[in-house]
Chain length 317, copies 6
């Protein structure tokens, strides 16, 4: 079996709006498929939003992102990278969640990603809300903490919600630090903004050594400078990339549950990913795309474009 | 304090699109308000969809129903009933859910309705998904089983989901029968339709004596005949009314998570409620209105119209 | 100049979605055009909603109705009538309103229709809100009262709003009766429904002899029977037809400001117009189409279909 | 390989909104897959609208119908038929069209269906516009004419458009009769309505013996009576079923390019298919679902429900 | 009664999408409430668009802004200001307009704001169209002219419309200057752009000494420089802030009646308000948010974010 | 007949949302109208998308652009140009396409523009997909090659699609160069971005001397610098302007079939046109506006604003 199996369907063979929509028109290779061993990068859907405290919807993200991703072609327009030739990529399907049981779902996800890791596959996840990142990190960082470059308008470092609920989409990285899955001194959070109840999250970040680059600093310094610092924080160690679509301004990405105005535009949304070049990426996710609030589908298309940029840097672009 | 306090704001004083939107422009009387003791019917929001196994959204139902309900005036066009003069009605606000903890939320809801019941208030609930009906029944039927007239396209009588999850919006009435909250011989389910995986729910209904009137029978017999049977099944005992908006055809009510085509139209949707006249109602709910799928707002307005009809029959109309 | 000038553009010559959109692709003949004298039926836009007390939008109705009306072809599918061959029809353009001055606009409208009447043209108006009917009646019924067949969910017979405001879309026919423009004994209102504040409008109707056929009677008797009575009430005298799109159920016509659920379907919406056959029509209007609430454009297309049916009966169909 | 391979994914294993969306969650079996020989019914997408003379969009139909079809479960609620147990069904993928070359695409489609027929597979097609039916019939009726039961608001029997263009979505059945693919005496068209330019299509139908049941007759006689006649016309011979979604009223199916108001409701839309029971079906299609005009997705879900009903009657239901 | 009464409901107590929506989840304190005397800043809805000459809709603004404002938390992300602790804020409800009588409504509004001023409350208004600013200024500037910093794409300085209509949303500040409510030498208008009929408005501005900063100057100089000049023009005197949402580019704020492309982005939309720090603000408004044109709700959320920024600078931030 | 005939209707005479919508409210002067000889600039609709290989819709562009263009007034806000006084402009109506025959339509278009050219009228076209530019160039550049300044995210320089299809919206300028309609050394393409299958288009550009300015260069250099180079490339010779709306970022212009994220904002979208000042323009088009994907109408309004800017530079602005 040659690489041809892993080549996406071309729009010249079948128009891009046609066909069964897998991520980027890649072959669908479930975990029990014998070809799994050949896969190098696995695109995975995490159709779950059980951690959402506000407007739900990201459980529909993977399907909509698959649909939009069929608009993506083979080559990066700016960097010239051709990821599907550089690496054998496949759509591994969706993790099966239990929408009515949060703890059960976290277990299901951790086990799925443990299998992916055991197969030596780099996971690129389409969420799902941001709580999804926690079970992924539990699987990927089981034996040593990872660094993380995190694009978001929120830190997701809160202690708990609703009088003691520890697992929501506002707490995953607090848990991850507590559980030793992240090395806080190698974590940077970029684009943080919006109103807050207090500064508890930023106090925690400061206490453990997480670097927060708020939006006013991002706008003042520009992408190049900020990303240089981000790469320096991540260093040469293994690093996870977590990209919350609400990092981007809601005019460009309305389809999300907790938007915050005043964010980056779509060009910057791609540029920051290009700025990851050289980082030793062990996995990445794009989360919080919420189709019910994405009436034009523009958020999903931007999300698919970001997934492609992530793939390009994972392919060494 | 006269009844005037409980009179909704008139559209001749303040246009109906204006003002802070409470249910039907009634006064907002939280549980800790001293005027609570005067309330006879309490409109309550249950902003929770933690039991949803498919498309979420009903947690936004109460707010959208409040908004749409400001279009409702004082008098029923068909029956002439004026419920706000017949009974002191108020908006009791929303039960506070914990969106990330299903069991915690069920407890919160049961305690809220226990307070409402203790205050002698008839609850009229705007959901929320259909699992909401379970904690409500736990509070209302604590000491004796109730009858129930249930409008829906689904029986919600399934045993469990996802390999053993007992609490979802597809299981509340199975649980309610098991817990002795409903007297199955006084339960009728009207409008049942759509594809199924198997007949497990209808087998259970048959086994315990619940009467299921499927849609083909509904269409063949007509509203008058069906509702005569429904009243006869409920009899003179205390009865709960549960109205899932997906009872109505999705052309009339697209804003719901699990639509089934081929349902009643909006005139029939009102008529069945008028057919409840004479039933001894101890509480009612309208559930599964899902604003993210209601692009025109028409589902919410139909839902508000149904809530008003329910109020009219609760007021003896 | 032959009738060819008045023949709509065929979809076989120019696809129906193309071209400058006039009503039914008819020629645009402004009041100062020399061809005006040849026109027999004039389609007129009344882009005004200054009488709206609730959700505005009908000022956009004429443009959207023009757009949707280009989907209409030449021949009635049921009756076989070919109105554009029976009568010389033209798009007379829009009455220029003053959106910020209600009384000024009523004067402008009355003068416009007086010119139309003076030219011997039958006006078929696309509103606009229902207050538009009042200045039209002032022009058409200047010298003797007319009968009226009125399709609506509201009687529009109220005395006043907001503490004495006499001119709103809820009062036009009260004013018209008071001003002697309508002969109440030759007026019938069909489809009336929805909640009300009180029965003041129906009391007035009863007092002056207007026949109100509420929706429950409409549904019980059916279109044929109801329209036979309507024709009998209108008799052989000159009669105005006023059709509020909210007569139709909001699932079929969501694009309107004051919807009421439980109304007729789209087949009945056409049938009632076919039931006008034989009535001596001196003018007609279709009002309250509100594009901002018509996300799919379906209301406008139904409205255009109703306008075509009206044209067919005006052409003797 | 047991039938289990052909069993759709259950919503209890993977929630219905999740996973790669194939038709009804069936396995994807392309024409070059060795399991093709086992397939009995093939669901096929025809993502092409090159024959559309008005508003395009049906090329997006197959993908949206796949998405909506994942809401379908295993068993028919009314008839109890379980088609996926009765027959081995699969998603055969999409025919690859050439969106910029009409004649090339017709050839591609005919060859695809010739392969399907050669494999002994019953094709159930999700269009695409109605011109798609012509190349399908060319493949299926190569050696003898078929009967046809056709649900539509248009006859699609016109001679030509735009001064001589023979292949559009308004001409497929004229061509099919001329080419001997249909036996006109065994063809019935149900639901015909809307304005027309002239009666050329109905004249042709009369001349060749096609039975047209216009909407006023459909409404007057009812589904049961009409379908009895339809079955009698089709007789015991091989029959093709063609279902244009614009047969249904646009309130229930707004997502189509050439709607006509006054049509059947969604219950009737299913009933007519149930009325096909006993017909010897050699293939079926559902066409003209146009996602760009289906803002709520309701048309696609109705379409998926109709596809399931078609599958049930093809399975002997 | 402590300040706690004036503390907004926390999202940790009741999720932000839940509850009766008041502005920023503040208590509703109508003008006749005894707690009015404690209020320092009053958020007020002006649900009126009677001055709109183009597309109506802002009458729905207050309700939608209330809804969106429940997403706002307690602390400014950039400046750290906590306005609800700095000042006692409340939702004073809506001014009751008369949608069918412009002059009556202007009187109602002026009287309402006179009461607010008499109570020593700083008004922060959510419009409504821009004509609303005129009666507000009549109440606030009764005894001396105010300065004004005005963000908009239009000057709203026109003389009259439609042949002499003096009161529209295009004329409020011409009237305000004529009536001595504004000191033109202390007025600056920022962001002016779009096509015009002529230069009459800018000629008037020049003649009376109003400083107009058109969009090309805004883009060339940047926010910091422009706002320094704005503060210098306003000086140390009492100043009103008027913010038309169409100041912002329509990609960020589509929900408005008279958009003009080429405007500031959402980050600049907030920055200009932060640049008001130090100005002696006696009242502020945010106008022209038009929900019918805001399909995603993004305009309302941006509007609510701007209202919060205004509150922060009013609180001395 | 004075210039007054060619003056657009003022919004002070008839509100801008009212009246039969022609381009910018100009008079409709079909090719057979005797006033054609006076026209200097003709606005023309090209309602055709037969060349679209992906999502169709631009055939609806001309009608929606006409509608949106009625919001345009008389004078450019930045440059002060008053094009309707500088030149006699008219709406020449739509070219009649044959939606089901690509080659026939290309012939129809070429003949239409040949007539326009013969009448000495500068054509400003509202598309339509980008293939429309080819027949226009065939008419305009019949006797000598033109220069071209081309704004787009795609080069549209591909050789062929789907195994040899030469005419699609991805190939017009390859054909135009091959046919000698364009002088490639006087062609510049600005804003090129997005993923590609390969570099065949850019290789062709390089080979024939077309200058491609990709988006990263555009963002790095800025509008002023880029447009100086563009003017220098076009030189003093006759030049065609082709503006694909997908040049602009999809947050500002979602209504298009093949969006690419990371593009210019709306201010830059206008600025680049202002940067054409001094170029010898012989015709211009704005293509690929696709109403079905433009739910807010914002793309059309931006498109109308760009058309006005084009008109202003054509008028010497």
């Amino acid at each position: 079996m040659s690489n041809d199996f892993f080549r996406p369907v071309s729009g010249f063979d079948l128009p891009r709006y046609a066909g069964v929509p897998t991520f980027m028109r890649l072959p669908h290779v479930p975990l029990d498929d014998p070809r799994l061993v050949q896969v190098q990068v696995g695109l995975i859907g995490a159709p779950w939003d059980g951690g959402t405290t506000n407007r739900p919807g990201p459980r529909h993200g993977p399907r909509q992102l698959r649909d939009a991703s069929t608009m993506i072609r083979a080559q990066n327009g700016v960097t010239g990278v051709r990821p599907f030739e550089a690496l054998r990529c496949a759509d591994l399907g969706d993790v099966a969640p239990n929408p009515a049981d949060l703890m059960d779902t976290m277990g299901r996800m951790e086990r799925f990603y443990a299998q992916v890791r055991a197969a030596g596959i780099l996971p690129l996840t389409a969420g799902g809300d941001h709580l999804c990142s926690l079970p992924i990190l539990r699987a990927l960082a089981k034996d040593r903490p990872l660094g993380m470059i995190h694009f978001d308008s929120h830190t997701d470092l809160f202690h708990s919600y609703f009088g003691g609920t520890m697992y929501t989409h506002g707490t995953p990285f607090r848990r991850a630090v507590e559980e030793g899955l992240l090395d806080p001194t190698r974590v940077v959070q970029i684009g943080i903004r919006g109103t807050t109840y207090d500064s508890e999250d930023r106090d925690f970040a400061r206490a453990v050594g997480i670097r927060v680059i708020p939006i006013e600093e991002f706008h003042a310094r520009g992408v190049t400078d900020v990303m240089a610092e981000a790469r320096s924080i991540a260093g040469s160690g293994e690093t996870y990339i977590s990209y919350d679509i609400d990092f981007v301004d809601p005019a460009f990405a309305p389809g999300t549950g907790t938007p915050e105005v005043g964010g980056p535009n779509s060009w910057q949304a791609l540029q920051v990913v290009q700025g990851l070049s050289g980082v030793r990426i062990v996995g990445a996710d794009l989360v919080e795309v919420s189709p019910p609030f994405d009436s034009s589908g523009g958020t999903a298309f931007l999300g698919a474009s970001i997934l492609f940029e992530l793939l390009c840097v994972m392919a060494g672009g």
